[in-house]
């Protein structure tokens, strides 16, 4: 038990939870309208959008998992840096257009745009369900990250986590997207503080960065050079970064944060401003090497933690070892708040999709009554189901399944790239062709991951006599695109569905 750290931790988390309730009064409006509850009324400016998207992308799971990957596997874990750079040109090119068409037609989700674009509610359903399914393990992993720091503090059981999450559910109900938007400001200040202190304090203790890198074995320091006849780890690393970047803004929670901004220009500005977080992420990744250099795994006081949480315990152990206990409390508080922000946005985003793309078109029928109080109630109830599901997930199901499902979720999610991202540029595709391409991508990706025993995300392809390892998500997306393009040519010739498009070219410009 570490009383000082626990007290600091509890005070910080409690403070943030109170802020969540206060957020309902901020930029006050009718929170019984789903555009207000679930999208903050599309009125967030450059700064709030920056915090909100930052809260979405750089989460508790990231802070634990990326250093853990560096700690366990070395250089490969650093793919997180190019990943969170190349995602921004994609944000810059694609999403201002999506914002414009969504604002014009009142869409609050990605699948809603797809339904408007293709007049095909089944394609929109596939896109929506993919988003919700990919989000579920992601919320669970945020709570796993939080549980890891609660465990590291020496608090036993799931009670503290459950209390925090019940409060999270309550303010999500009352404040909607405004709550995570406001809390994300505190979260970021805490994270910046923690990381800056860590990258100053730890290297001083160890005698500088040079000393830290000297203690890392050469094989972990760079990627292995590819053997003759193979592109080896080079294409593995690059496709991992690129494929992850292409999927990033397709997640319901990131799309929600984008659409909640007050203008398309704000999105472009954020594409240039968000890389500031990536520098912090790079430093954070290096915490994995610092933990390695300190030989934390061999210290008896951390043996139980490493046995229980494996490499995920690297960062908590580092904080406990290197910081005075009050500051360890601050750092753990930062990680816990870093879980609450994305968890709330994810629950809200999934609820928006359920309401607009499943309940509306399939349960309620044509007169779904958008903008009514009943509609918002459906969304709120579904958000509660998502949060309860996540708690159930981590208490009942072993954590390794959440990690595996998260891995699969990324592979499934990228399959909606043609339907959402490419469709802001072109109406070449046929809606049914996109649906078939999506199905082919999902099935192939799942099969390959199963062949890898749900552990590896790379697959070696044989192209023109070369061995080309690729991130499975990236490779199966190409297959998906080829299938969708060929089928579109055929279907457009016999049964063109372009007349069903309710958007006009001017809506995107």
């Amino acid at each position: 038990m570490n009383t000082v750290a626990i007290v600091v931790f509890i005070v910080l988390v409690a403070l943030v939870l109170v802020m969540g309730f206060a957020a309902g009064r901020w930029k006050s409006a009718d929170l019984d309208n789903i555009e207000e509850w679930g999208l903050g009324g599309r009125r967030f400016g450059t700064v709030i959008t920056w915090f909100l998207l930052g809260g979405d992308i750089y989460t508790a799971y990231t802070f634990i998992a990326i250093p853990a990957l560096m700690f366990g596997k070395g250089a490969l874990g650093f793919f997180a840096v190019p990943y969170t750079v190349v995602c921004y040109p994609i944000l810059f090119i694609v999403f201002p257009k999506l914002w414009k068409v969504a604002q014009k037609h009142g869409y609050i989700t990605g699948p809603e745009f797809v339904r408007g674009r293709y007049g095909n509610r089944w394609l929109a359903l596939a896109v929506g369900v993919t988003g919700i399914v990919a989000t579920m393990p992601y919320i669970a992993l945020q709570l796993v990250g939080m549980q890891t720091v609660i465990g590291a503090l020496g608090l036993p059981g799931y009670m503290p986590l459950t209390v925090a999450v019940v409060v999270l559910a309550c303010f999500t109900w009352t404040s909607g997207l405004r709550a995570p938007a406001m809390i994300s400001i505190v979260k970021d200040l805490l994270i910046y503080l923690t990381v800056i202190v860590a990258v100053i304090v730890v290297p001083i203790e160890l005698g500088g960065f040079g000393q830290i890198f000297d203690k890392i074995p050469a094989a972990m320091l760079t990627l292995p050079t590819p053997p003759a006849g193979s592109t080896g780890s080079y294409t593995g690393y690059a496709t991992l970064a690129l494929g992850s970047a292409m999927a990033l803004f397709l997640y319901p929670h990131t799309t929600t944060a984008i659409l909640s901004s007050s203008g398309s220009r704000i999105i472009k500005r954020n594409a240039a401003l968000l890389p500031a977080y990536t520098i912090v992420l790079g430093l954070l990744a290096l915490l994995g090497f610092m933990a390695y250099a300190m030989d934390l795994q061999k210290m008896p006081e951390f043996a139980a933690g490493f046995a229980k949480y494996h490499t995920s315990f690297a960062v908590p152990a580092l904080f406990l070892h290197a910081f005075p206990s009050w500051f360890a409390g601050v750092a753990f508080g930062a990680i816990a708040v870093g879980a609450l922000v994305p968890a709330a946005i994810m629950a809200i985003a999934a609820a928006n999709i359920f309401t607009r793309d499943i309940w509306g078109p399939f349960v309620k029928g044509q007169n779904a009554g958008t903008g009514t109080k009943a509609e918002t109630l459906v969304a709120k109830v579904f958000a509660m189901i998502m949060i309860a599901g996540a708690i159930f997930f981590i208490v009942v199901i072993p954590n390794t399944y959440a990690v595996q499902l998260q891995l699969l979720g990324g592979m499934w999610l990228i399959q909606i790239f043609p339907s959402v991202a490419l469709s802001v540029f072109t109406r070449f595709f046929n809606g049914w062709a996109l649906l078939v391409g999506w199905a082919v991508g999902i099935v192939t990706a799942t099969w390959m991951v199963a062949e890898n025993h749900f552990a590896g995300s790379l697959w070696t392809f044989h192209l023109f006599g070369y061995e080309v390892p690729s991130y499975i998500a990236f490779a199966t997306l190409i297959l998906n695109l080829i299938v969708a393009a060929i089928l579109s040519l055929i279907l457009n010739a016999v049964a063109n569905d372009r007349a069903l498009d309710e958007t006009q070219a001017a809506d995107y410009a």
Partner: protein, 60 residues
């Protein structure tokens, strides 16, 4: 021009042979790490230039 800048971001960040070595080091950081860290603000700058080019297009 704008497109070219954005493509450049993908090239400098994803072309692994550019940076998969340990030397030269900088402040004790092997090349692999400091190159990718330096590529972050450079990419942000390219995005900023693309944004400014965009503004002048809007004004025309």
């Amino acid at each position: 021009m704008k497109t070219l800048l954005l493509i450049l971001i993908f090239v400098i960040n994803l072309w692994v042979p550019f940076y998969n070595h340990t030397t030269p080091t900088l402040f004790g950081f092997p090349f692999f790490y400091w190159y990718q860290m330096v590529a972050v603000p450079i990419s942000a700058l390219l995005l900023y230039i693309a944004l400014r080019l965009d503004t002048s297009e809007d004004e025309q």
